[in-house]
């Protein structure tokens, strides 16, 4: 009989691990004090690019200090819906994208001009609700980064406002500054630096729903309900350039339809938070771990 105890114990352990995740579990509400409407100035000049420190140059540009928040994106959706820039199509909000040149390279998929998905509606992970006439943000998620947004949706937001998505080089320079650091704040990473997998932040419960996003600018040195963060802004003052959400970038590369993301996310280990790490997906992909921020040319 004793031999069955172990099997019974293990089965119980496995079954208790399989309770469904509550996607609407209460979320802590913290005000970070970081302004999501702020922009950082990035000067023209050389910087170290990539893991092997290649020297590259950019012009001067500006980039958002934080990721675009859910509230900012809902506001855009309401405006764009009102002027007819976007429309509902089934379970999606779609908008026009002018298409890419197709080269017929192996694995390349054509991206033609037309309406493409911006965000999915009615997805359990979507924090923006649409009642048929207006968009509202689920309570508690206003200052969280906008997620569940496709590359087209990110491109559409920036384009609507007269901005653009940062190129990979612009993104990396903004994250790294002009030295060879692997993380926006320096050489080493601690759990209080960023939101990554099992980083034990107040928004995470690895026994049920796992890792969740933190409000934009959360890791700014403040203490929230006894949880102390380390100020982890980049040399140019950008927040969340490592962890929280992957960020779409704007490059469209010849011969491939994939779009690249940077920064790692709440769902990745610390190695993916290094500034040079690249990820990519089809431009229609959306996820609770993918967001974006915009860039613009300097006036």
């Amino acid at each position: 009989m004793k031999r069955y105890y172990l099997i019974f114990f293990l089965l119980t352990l496995l079954l208790t691990a399989c309770t469904p995740a509550d996607l609407n579990a209460p979320i802590p509400s913290f005000e970070t004090g970081v302004d999501p409407d702020a922009w950082a100035q990035i000067p023209a000049g050389k910087f170290y690019y990539g893991q092997h420190d290649d020297i590259q140059t950019t012009d001067a540009y500006e980039i958002m200090v934080t990721d675009v928040t859910t509230a900012q994106y809902a506001s855009f959706l309401n405006e764009a819906l009102a002027d007819g820039s976007i429309k509902a199509k089934g379970d999606q909000m779609v908008g026009y994208y002018p298409g890419d040149e197709f080269h017929g390279v192996k694995h390349e998929e054509p991206i033609e001009a037309g309406d493409w998905i911006f965000i999915p509606l009615n997805d359990p992970s979507q924090r923006i609700q649409f009642d048929g006439t207006a968009f509202t943000v689920q309570q508690g998620y206003e200052n969280q980064p906008m997620t569940m947004v496709s590359w087209f949706g990110a491109w559409g937001y920036c384009d609507y406002n007269g901005w653009r998505l940062p190129t990979e080089m612009e993104w990396e320079k903004a994250a790294r500054g002009t030295d060879t650091r692997p993380f926006p704040w320096g050489d080493e990473i601690k759990r209080e630096n960023a939101n990554f997998y099992a980083s034990r932040d107040p928004f995470e419960d690895m026994r049920s729903f796992g890792s969740r996003t933190t409000p934009v600018g959360f890791y700014n040195g403040k203490t929230y309900d006894g949880y102390s963060t380390i100020d982890s802004a980049s040399p140019f003052g950008l927040h969340d350039m490592a962890g929280n959400v992957w960020q779409w970038t704007g490059n469209v590369y010849e011969g491939m339809h994939y779009r690249f993301m940077r920064g790692g996310s709440k769902d990745t280990y610390d190695m993916d938070l290094r500034v040079w790490v690249r990820n990519n997906a089809t431009p229609t992909y959306f996820s609770p771990g993918v967001g974006f921020r915009c860039a613009r040319d300097q006036n």
Binding site: L10, L13, L14, A17, C18, T19, P20, A21, L23, Q51, H52, V105, K106, H107, E108, E109, P124, S125, T180, P182, F183, D187, E188, I189, Y197, A198, M206, R207, S208, F209, G210, S211, W246, Y253, G255, M256, Y258, M261, D267, T268, Y269, M271, D272, R274, R278, N279, N280, A281, T282, T284, Y285, S287, P288, G289, V290
Partner: protein, 524 residues
């Protein structure tokens, strides 16, 4: 060789005097320090079983320690503890380089184990056997010890040089092994017609060993050349991170081809070794050995082809080559299961189904290797083929990081299966019997298969669960994977501790093993 022996004796004498002066415990000194060390050294480094034991122990230590640096161990904070305790020096930008050194270190030890098995099983001149064993032993130990020291404890460039020296010695051991295995030598002709042979008597199984060894040596160059190029500027990269780039350089293709083919060749060579140990013969052997040889040649041509203008059709050539190799492994499985059933039911006139099944699974160490080969189809081959068929439709819609999980998952699974098959053979060669044999054998099968099944579901989880809802499933899978791998390592550690304690006995098991050779223990 005499010079070496004299030099070794001098070292042994010095070591013995030093140890004797340390006033070691009585059981240790009773034999006198020098003789104690010399006898154990002779067993561990001059006998096939001793050499295999050392290599398995080295891999066990590396796996045990470095396994704590990633995954759930990192989440639980064990990683930080290990790094602090062992005073490791880990620079973020150098992670990829460290990983490359780590798996080359383990791979060289695995290559060494397979080489010891080949030199112990197949006929060859004593000179070649000794030279191959010495070169590969010094080679993998240099690679492992100095490679890991270089990668994880700062950058002593002398250590890096010794790491490269080690890799080079393993390569030269491979070249010598190819020469030693030359199948047309009349001394190695197969006289028994129940085995695969040509009309002239050439042993076709030896041809398969020769072809695999030769392909391995050539394929090593496909790693060495780009390794020198990228390593020169330390512009290391992991192949799984460049999978979706439409434009790759020839040397990048070479790296991708190298890592795939080396693992495949290690698996193929192990299949041949297991076949020899189990004494694979008869009509299925006569079909399987030419198929294996053909498969190895075509498979390698396909993989080498990725660096040539043949690249667009290279995958097709690879599929064509993989098919006969896998078919040959299937024939081994059919033959060995048939033999296990026949041998186990020989005393029965009309054995019933369950009696046959009972006979099949009676000895887990002989059933295990081919069972794991079958299981591999679910964890590695099946996943690989499914991914290839549905690549653009499913897998390339997901982010590259998801695809990376599938890729790294399925070759970790294949590596783990290779390791378990080695452990089955090892369990038999160290003479495990009765209850211990059953516990050891079934432990390996159950623990590894639980872990590998968990890994397979983890890789494929996006097919049936969303990112937002996955955490409870991931937790359950992690329990299963960690339980399986953890128990497997505990099992291995127990055997290693037993082997270590045996070395302290004057007439321990090692004294018998020192004179035994694998070829004498082939299953009859």
């Amino acid at each position: 060789m005499f010079t070496h022996a004299t030099h070794n004796d001098t070292i042994m004498a010095q070591l013995g005097r030093s140890l004797a002066s340390l006033k070691l415990p009585l059981f240790f000194c009773k034999e006198t320090g020098m003789q104690f060390i010399k006898d154990r050294f002779n067993y561990l480094f001059k006998s096939t079983k001793g050499l295999i034991t050392v290599a398995i122990a080295m891999i066990a230590v590396v796996t045990g320690v470095w396994g704590m640096l990633s995954g759930p161990m990192a989440e639980m904070g064990v990683r930080d503890f290990v790094i602090r305790t062992l005073k490791m020096d880990l620079v973020q930008a150098e992670r990829e380089g460290r990983v490359i050194v780590l798996y080359h270190s383990i791979a060289m030890a695995v290559m060494a184990i397979e080489t010891y098995m080949i030199t112990g099983l197949l006929k060859m001149k004593v000179f070649y056997k000794t030279a191959v064993q010495v070169l590969i032993t010094v080679g993998y130990l240099l690679t492992m010890i100095f490679g890991m020291a270089f990668a994880y404890w700062g950058h002593n460039w002398a250590f890096h040089g010794l790491f490269i020296t080690g890799l080079s010695l393993v390569f030269f051991a491979g070249v010598l092994l190819v020469i030693a295995l030359w199948p047309r030598n009349r001394d190695y002709h197969q006289l028994d017609k129940t085995y695969a042979r040509t009309k002239q008597g050439v042993d076709v199984e030896r041809v398969a060993f020769f072809a695999t060894a030769l392909a391995t040596v050539i394929s090593a160059l496909f790693g060495a050349v780009p390794g020198s190029f990228f390593g020169n500027g330390f512009e290391v990269f992991l192949a799984e991170n460049i999978i979706r780039y439409p434009e790759k350089t020839t040397l990048q293709y070479s790296v991708i081809g190298h890592l795939h083919i080396m693992l495949a060749l290690i698996a193929i060579m192990l299949t041949l070794i297991i076949g020899r140990w189990l004494n694979f013969k008869g009509i299925l052997h006569k079909i399987a050995m030419p198929l294996m040889t053909l498969g190895v040649i075509v498979l390698n041509l396909g993989v080498w082809g990725v660096t040539t203008p043949l690249e667009p059709i290279a995958h097709m050539i690879i599929y064509v080559g993989a098919t006969p190799s896998m078919l040959a492994a299937l024939l081994l499985l059919i033959w060995s299961w048939g033999k296990l059933i026949r041998d186990g039911t020989a005393h029965l006139q009309k054995p019933k189904f369950f009696q046959k099944v009972g006979a099949l699974v009676r000895d887990p160490l002989k059933f295990g290797p081919t069972w794991q080969m079958l299981f591999m189809n679910f964890t590695t081959s099946g996943i690989g083929i499914f991914m290839a068929i549905k690549l653009d439709e499913i897998f390339r819609v997901w982010p590259a990081r998801e695809e990376r999980i599938e890729l790294t998952g399925h070759w970790h699974a294949l590596s783990a299966i290779i390791a378990t098959i080695i452990l089955f053979y090892y369990g038999d060669m160290i003479g495990l019997k009765g209850r211990f044999r059953q516990l050891y054998g079934w432990g390996i099968i159950l623990f590894s298969d639980i872990a590998l099944a968990g890994v397979t579901v983890f890789e494929m989880k996006r097919l049936f669960i969303t990112e937002a809802e996955q955490q409870p499933l991931v937790n359950g899978l992690m329990y299963a994977i960690d339980f399986g791998l953890g128990m497997l390592l505990v099992l291995l550690a127990s055997v290693m501790v037993w082997r270590l304690s045996d070395l302290f006995k004057k007439k321990g098991r090692w004294t018998k093993e020192i004179g035994q050779e694998l070829s004498q223990e082939v299953v009859q």
